[in-house]
């Protein structure tokens, strides 16, 4: 048999590497003004967190200074009611949220290695990763497998969703006590139902596509289809959702801190800083203002980021 039709496209460029592709798919966020602003805000706080790991103007818990001082040259953001440097506390406050997680010495009876060394990446991020993982698993099972899987999973998730979020936090924390890992767990549990609903609806849409039929007619296993055929195509919305959830998580951690049941000391906690300084608000508002702005700007930044990214994503899909 002779080749009768021409071979198409022999001069296509080479495929970019996986990292390049990942970056390219991320970089679309810079097409959106809103998204770019968001990225900048988030990047700012991450840099602050990283810098604070190696340098702060003063030790965060040192009480050596004049109390309730308004901003001066030596204390650019002023001091709080115990005479601690607000800037240093603000900087250190980013750490547990964004870049480190303090592990207990012992977990379920096992002594953890590495002694006092914290685990990299902050509580908010671990919590969101947790809910993304758990939620994706449940959502995929409910959405792709359908039937009684769907009924049971959704029923349980509905039950979880029915809890006002803060109440769930309160219950988890009153049940398990304070600690970085407990906060991670609480974020995971409160976030998973939402992720699962999202992934479920995505999976129900994606599973109608012909390429899923193709995989099924190849006799692929349910797990292969869920994790290799469906999940990769949900990554855009999942990234957006994850971003928003990091925002919620920081929001929630701040709130818990404000209520006095958030991340345990000794590291300063923004929510708690607001709470402690509140009674002195008539003396000086600064110690309340700074952490408030910090939380708001970080959460807003993440939201803008997610918004911009989503906008560009839908545009590129059109």
């Amino acid at each position: 048999m002779t080749v009768t039709q021409p071979i198409l496209g022999s001069t296509l460029p080479k495929r970019p590497s996986a990292i390049q592709r990942a970056w390219e798919s991320f970089a679309i966020v810079f097409d959106s003004t809103v998204g770019t602003v968001g990225v900048a805000m988030v990047a700012f706080w991450i840099s602050v967190a990283l810098i604070s790991l190696v340098w702060t103007p003063y030790p965060a818990n040192a009480t050596d200074f004049i109390q309730n001082e308004s901003p001066t040259l030596t204390h650019p953001l002023g001091t709080d009611h115990l005479g601690r440097d607000s800037l240093s506390r603000l900087m250190v406050g980013t750490q547990v949220i964004l870049v480190k997680t303090r592990l207990p010495d012992e977990l379920f009876g096992y002594t953890l290695p590495f002694g006092d060394w914290p685990m990299p990446v902050g509580v908010a991020i671990w919590g969101v990763l947790g809910s993304l993982t758990l939620g994706s698993l449940l959502g995929l099972m409910a959405g792709y497998q359908g039937g009684w899987h769907d009924t049971i999973i959704m029923q349980i998730l509905d039950a979880l969703i029915a809890f006002p979020r803060i109440v769930l936090y309160l219950v988890v924390i009153s049940a398990m006590g304070q600690g970085d890992l407990v906060v991670i767990l609480a974020i995971t549990i409160t976030g998973a139902p939402g992720v699962a609903r999202l992934v479920r609806s995505l999976a129900m849409d994606i599973k109608t596509r012909d390429y899923i039929r193709a995989a099924e007619t190849r006799g692929e296993s349910v797990w292969y289809i869920m994790f290799w055929e469906i999940l990769p195509n949900a990554r855009g919305p999942l990234l957006v959702d994850g971003m928003l959830r990091v925002g919620y998580a920081i929001f929630a951690i701040g709130t818990l801190g404000f209520l006095g049941i958030g991340l345990p000391p000794p590291d300063p906690d923004w929510g708690n800083m607001v709470n402690e300084a509140r009674p002195f608000i008539f003396v000086t508002p600064w110690p309340v203002i700074w952490p408030s702005i910090a939380i708001a700007s970080l959460v807003i930044g993440l939201n803008l980021f997610a918004d911009g990214y989503r906008e560009e994503l839908t545009r590129y899909q059109k």
């Binding site: 048999m1 080749v3 009768t4 039709q5 021409p6 071979i7 198409l8 496209g9 022999s10 001069t11 296509l12 080479k14 495929r15 097409d31 109608t208 596509r209 012909d210 390429y211 039929r213 193709a214 099924e216 007619t217 190849r218 006799g219 692929e220 055929e229 990769p232 195509n233 990554r235």
Partner: protein
């Protein structure tokens, strides 16, 4: 042609602003429509057909604008018209009908209120008056039970009826111009035929000028007197329907006509000639003639100078430098579009044998008793008593309207659904079970090609990964040789080696479909099931993909089941054809036998509904009444009896059809018809189409 045109489009160019520039979706289009005239616009997708219609009503969205030219409606300039003045014209003087009636109607308003508001707003009628007028109009478009329909919501009536409502709404104010954008594309062929009849009839009766957009030459031939052919934003040829179809002058028009199979043509006696290459994207059009890169007559001048639309003495206008020299009859295919020569295959050892195959889905009832499980469970009888066998290396085509069970049949055979009764064997192995219960070797031997190019490939993986996966999964190829094997397959579907690392988003529809075919072939299956593999493609691409499938089939001796709703394509592609209606095979036989008498009455109706791109052909007019009955409680006796136009031929007006299931009659060797009418009478039916 009468005095002043209703619509006069002059040298219009429309552009859409996009990030980093703009694209000219329409460049230099001109035409006039006189009172009572009907102008067809045909072209492949993305050529700017819809854009023109949006430009006329000045509804181009926030990023579109008319860049040049003028659009005059009854002498008034429409370009730049805005506000109240524009609003008063829309819906009153100019009405539009769109492709998908389900989408075009508001799901949460009754049909009546959606119709009436046209009159109450534009004509200041009272609700009562408007109601009367609407019912009249619904009756005018042959809507059964018109008064009742007014109270219903869109989802409560069928697609064909929805489109009637939309058309009735458009005609309420007796508009001077009616724009129709693919009004029948979403409809089944028999429904389409009735809607087209309606449009043709209304056209004669109302003095409305019609602009009719379609991608289907046959449809335009049925309802228009003039037609303009568009290519990549330009109108390349314009003239009367007769002239264009008989004497296509522009090389593109010629190509279009050559690349669709004629109804009745088969792969042994005729060939399809795809147009080579693909439509240039709007922001990357060639200088000179836009069609140049795909044109067989191209000369140096074509690359340098853009041809103008020139009018010829016979009234035809053509945008080609060499229009006088291009002779449609003297055309010879060049080597690169020459398709394979293929003989029809019949009568070898069967590879697939299906006997009485049945598939029921459980239906969900709505009443409280249903939910409590008190009522007997009801079933959607999606497939009933399917029996046939397919010889090795041949193709069985399956035709029928949407919902007739074509896809269920294929899904049951491939194992996406387990069957509920009956027997099916593939090379002697039982395949009535669900996929998960089949062994690997059977799974490997049955593969599928899908309809929608945009969803056939997983957007997250490269071409190479997707074609390679079946090889890795079935371990038919050692790991280190997969890449080499993928390259081979790519070559086989005429794609270059460089495609291996492409992502689906970087491919055109036709290319994706080729990759889908390569993936299906990767495990070297013996049986490939094709579910409408070309129906989502543009005609010029469709021809190439069909040719490719034919070629690969001949090369590998693959057996195929081929579903399509386009009867010409099925006829062209298949050796055997099964005609299905409401879950049941009605007629089965060699392809050529199906398309000539004796016919099953349903087949006859289907054939007479097909729009053919030849205005001079004589086509018998048989129209089916009513809707397809529900598959939950299909009619007793013959499932077709509620709509059968032929049952009067039987004594008692076909009483027997309502009570007794018809027998299979063997009307010729291998040709079977499920009908009570004796074969002697069936043979006397006239052929549906007689070419002039």
């Amino acid at each position: 042609m009468s005095s002043k045109p209703v619509l006069s489009v002059k040298n219009v160019a429309v552009a859409y602003k996009i990030r980093g520039g703009e694209i000219e979706a329409v460049q230099d289009v001109s035409f006039d429509i006189p009172r009572g005239g009907s102008q067809g616009i045909v072209g492949e997708s993305g050529c700017g057909k819809s854009t023109i219609s949006w430009a006329i009503v000045n509804f181009l969205g926030s990023n579109g604008y008319v860049k040049r030219g003028s659009i005059k409606f009854q002498g008034q300039e429409m370009v730049g018209k805005e506000g109240e003045e524009l609003r008063r014209l829309r819906g009153d003087q100019i009405a539009m009908v769109f492709q998908d009636p389900m989408q075009a109607l508001n799901p949460s308003m009754t049909l009546g209120s959606q119709m009436k508001e046209v009159l109450t707003v534009h004509r200041n009628m009272s609700g009562k008056e408007a109601e009367v007028r609407c019912i009249e109009m619904l009756e005018r478009v042959y809507m059964p039970d018109a008064a009742n329909v007014m109270k219903r919501y869109p989802h409560q009536i069928s697609g064909g009826q929805q489109q009637r409502v939309v058309i009735a709404t458009a005609l309420l104010t007796n508009p001077a111009l009616l724009i129709m954008d693919e009004p029948t594309t979403a409809l089944d062929v028999t429904v389409e035929a009735t809607v087209l009849d309606l449009i043709a009839e209304l056209r004669r009766e109302f003095d409305t000028a019609i602009m009719y957009i379609s991608h289907n030459l046959g449809v335009v031939a049925r309802v228009c007197d003039h037609v303009g052919v568009m290519y990549a934003g330009e109108m390349v040829e314009r003239g009367t329907v007769e002239e264009i179809y008989k004497n296509p002058t522009h090389p593109y028009t010629q190509g279009l006509i050559r690349c669709v199979p004629k109804l009745g043509a088969d792969k042994a006696s005729s060939v399809l000639y795809p147009i080579r290459g693909r439509v240039p994207p709007p922001n990357n059009r060639p200088v000179g003639c836009i069609f140049g890169p795909r044109c067989d007559y191209r000369q140096v001048k074509c690359e340098e100078e853009r041809p103008a639309l020139r009018q010829f003495p016979n009234g035809q206008s053509v945008r080609c430098h060499f229009a006088e020299e291009v002779d449609w009859r003297a055309w010879k295919p060049t080597a690169d579009v020459l398709p394979p020569q293929i003989a029809t295959k019949t009568g070898q050892t069967p590879i697939l044998q299906v006997d009485g195959l049945q598939k029921y889905y459980t239906a969900q009832g709505g009443s409280i008793r249903d939910i409590m499980g008190l009522n007997k469970p009801r079933y959607v009888k999606a497939l009933e008593h399917a029996s046939f066998s397919v010889p090795k290396g041949s193709t069985l085509g399956i035709v029928g309207e949407s919902g007739c069970g074509k896809s269920t049949l294929i899904k049951t055979i491939i194992g996406l659904e387990g069957s509920t009764a009956g027997d099916a064997q593939f090379l002697g192995v039982d395949i009535t079970t669900h996929l998960s219960e089949r062994d690997e070797s059977t799974i490997r031997e049955l593969q599928m090609v899908f309809q929608n190019p945009d969803s056939t490939m997983n957007p997250s993986y490269t071409v190479g990964q997707q074609i390679g996966r079946p090889m890795a999964r079935f371990k038919t190829v050692p790991k280190n040789q997969i890449r080499a094997e993928v390259v081979k397959l790519l070559k086989a579907v005429r794609l270059g080696e460089n495609y291996i690392d492409r992502l689906p988003s970087q491919l055109s529809g036709g290319e994706k479909q080729r990759v889908g075919i390569a993936r299906a072939l990767a495990s070297s299956p013996d049986l490939v099931l094709c579910d409408e593999p070309v129906s989502a493609l543009d005609v010029s691409v469709q021809a190439a993909v069909l040719n490719l499938l034919l070629e690969l089939q001949a090369e590998n001796e693959t057996t195929m089941l081929f579903i399509a709703h386009d009867l010409s394509v099925v006829r062209f592609f298949s050796d055997y054809v099964a005609v299905m209606y409401l879950g049941q095979v009605m007629e089965l036989g060699p392809a050529e036998a199906i398309y000539a008498p004796p016919y099953h009455p349903y087949t006859e109706a289907l054939l007479s509904a097909v729009p053919i791109p030849d205005p001079s052909a004589q086509q018998k007019r048989i129209r089916l009444e009513g809707n397809v009955p529900s598959a939950i409680s299909p009619p007793s006796g013959c499932r077709f009896h509620t709509r059968c136009p032929r049952k009067q031929l039987l004594s008692d007006n076909g009483q027997i059809c309502e009570t007794t299931a018809p027998p299979w009659q063997n009307v010729a060797s291998e040709h079977h018809i499920l009908c009570h009418i004796p074969k002697e009478k069936l043979i006397e039916f006239e052929p549906v189409i007689r070419e002039a």
